[in-house]
Amino acid sequence: MPTVKNWQLGRDMNYPYDARFPSRQFAFVFNINRCIACQSCTMACKSTWTFSKGQEHMWWANVETKPYGGYPQWWDAKILEKLEDANPGGQVWGGTPADGRDGPYGTFEGQTIFEAARQTLTPDSARVLGYLPTDEEWNYPNIYEDNPIGKRGVRNKLDETGEKLPVHSTWFFYLARICNHCSYPACLAACPRKAIYKRPEDGIVLLDQAECRGYRKCVEACPYKKSMYRGNTRTSEKCIACFPRVEGTDPETGGEPMETRCMAACIGQIRMQGLVQMADDGTWAEDRHNPLYFLVHVAKVALPLYPQFGTQPNGYYIPPRWVARPYLRQMFGPGVDRAIENYVSPSRELLAVLQLFRRSNRIIYKYEIQEGPKIYEGSLHGRKVELYNDTVIAFGKSGREIFRTTVEEPIHVRPNTHANSI
């Protein structure tokens, strides 16, 4: 089996195919601190791509309540348990988080889903450790979660006192998920038909419907369970990253690359999506003023979801600051403590870049900051805060300015009726 470099793990790993990297890679950052589970992203995706017969259970974009929720149910607990069974006590990280682009979270010393498969699965053709969720696990995108429901047997009506459930004093957060368009996709690795491919121009992972025969190896292999089987066509389907928008070929885009539907619909402004430049070795090429590069590699506030699976996912999350750290370390790796520290005490540049989220539905390729005067210095929750009237300018693919964000101090206009009062 070929060896490929996984920069998130800080080491080489086994993968069924040689490494091939696109010139740019579809990637995104979600700020979990802002997500209130309004499900606008979920419905934007559903109403665009998966509204047809046979797709009822397909939620390419979903928001689940962690730690107890998941779609399909227990997807992460199940694959984590399988990895633990394959390598008892060995799924640990070594080293310490570093500053470089290669291995910024230390070195993962355990086994990925590709490596564990070689030792635990038979026959030899089984390439990825995974499992096929049951029908029941696919049935409910939010089972046992916190949605108000109707009384049993009463359809289409919410229980009028349904919100008065017992209140548990516990921590939880909302995890928004789409396909991570991984650099080493497990779905692609597992497909015996080679029906899944990664586009060389933007790294979007697509599933060729003409080639698929519905063996569901991709469904079994994807550790994030973002490949889904459609019974009435007998093929599998997955998130297509709204590629006509990302390409700029959708009529609405006017030729300028546009973010996906789930990104554009986000009312909590938690999402930013872009196309990052790739280096020859599969790391992100230095692109200092790309906002995603800044958040992942400079500010180091955005972390990959379950990097230990080994697929090198391209979805990154700013972790929730109130959640128990051991849980977050398991979910996002050892970079969590640094990410939260950097996020709660943001640098001047980070504050500016956070203002780029959801100000436009066009993909931002580059930003520029024009520094202005300091307008406030004080403290919040015991931490020092400084605000500046900086102007942040976002540029699109063609280098044209998409928008600029400035800060305006409020002006109080005295009403006419009290024009002369003090």
Binding site: N33, Y140, G150, H168, W171, Y376
Partner: protein, 109 residues
């Protein structure tokens, strides 16, 4: 939607799983929501409205546990910092057109 009763003999049922948490965690979560929505330009009534609505369960649970007064104080603390400014977004325009700034959410009075 869980219309069926839990099956006690189902080994996958969550039974008695403890997730440690206390008022401090709830307060931190509420602080995070207040800070974030103050930063993106929401006003005091808008942020409090978010906490009051049962549909936004995370925020609403904090409101239930801590009470309106405590949540109001957290929102005021956040707005004392982030509410000082208003973000103005101006779309890039074609040559010759006049840019029209969009003042986000927060009204003048």
């Amino acid at each position: 939607m869980p219309f069926d009763e839990p099956e006690i003999d189902d080994p996958q049922e969550l039974v008695g799983v403890e997730l440690p948490g206390d008022e401090t965690v709830t307060r931190e979560m509420a602080e995070a929501f207040a800070d974030e929505f103050a930063q993106i330009g929401y006003t005091r009534p808008q942020i409090l409205g978010l906490f009051r609505r049962a549909e936004y369960t995370g925020a609403h649970q904090a409101w239930t546990l801590l009470g309106e007064e405590a949540i109001g104080r957290l929102v005021d603390e956040s707005l004392a910092v982030w509410g000082r400014v208003r973000y103005v977004v101006t779309d890039g325009v074609a040559d010759g057109a006049v840019p029209e700034p969009l003042r986000l959410f927060r009204p003048r009075s």
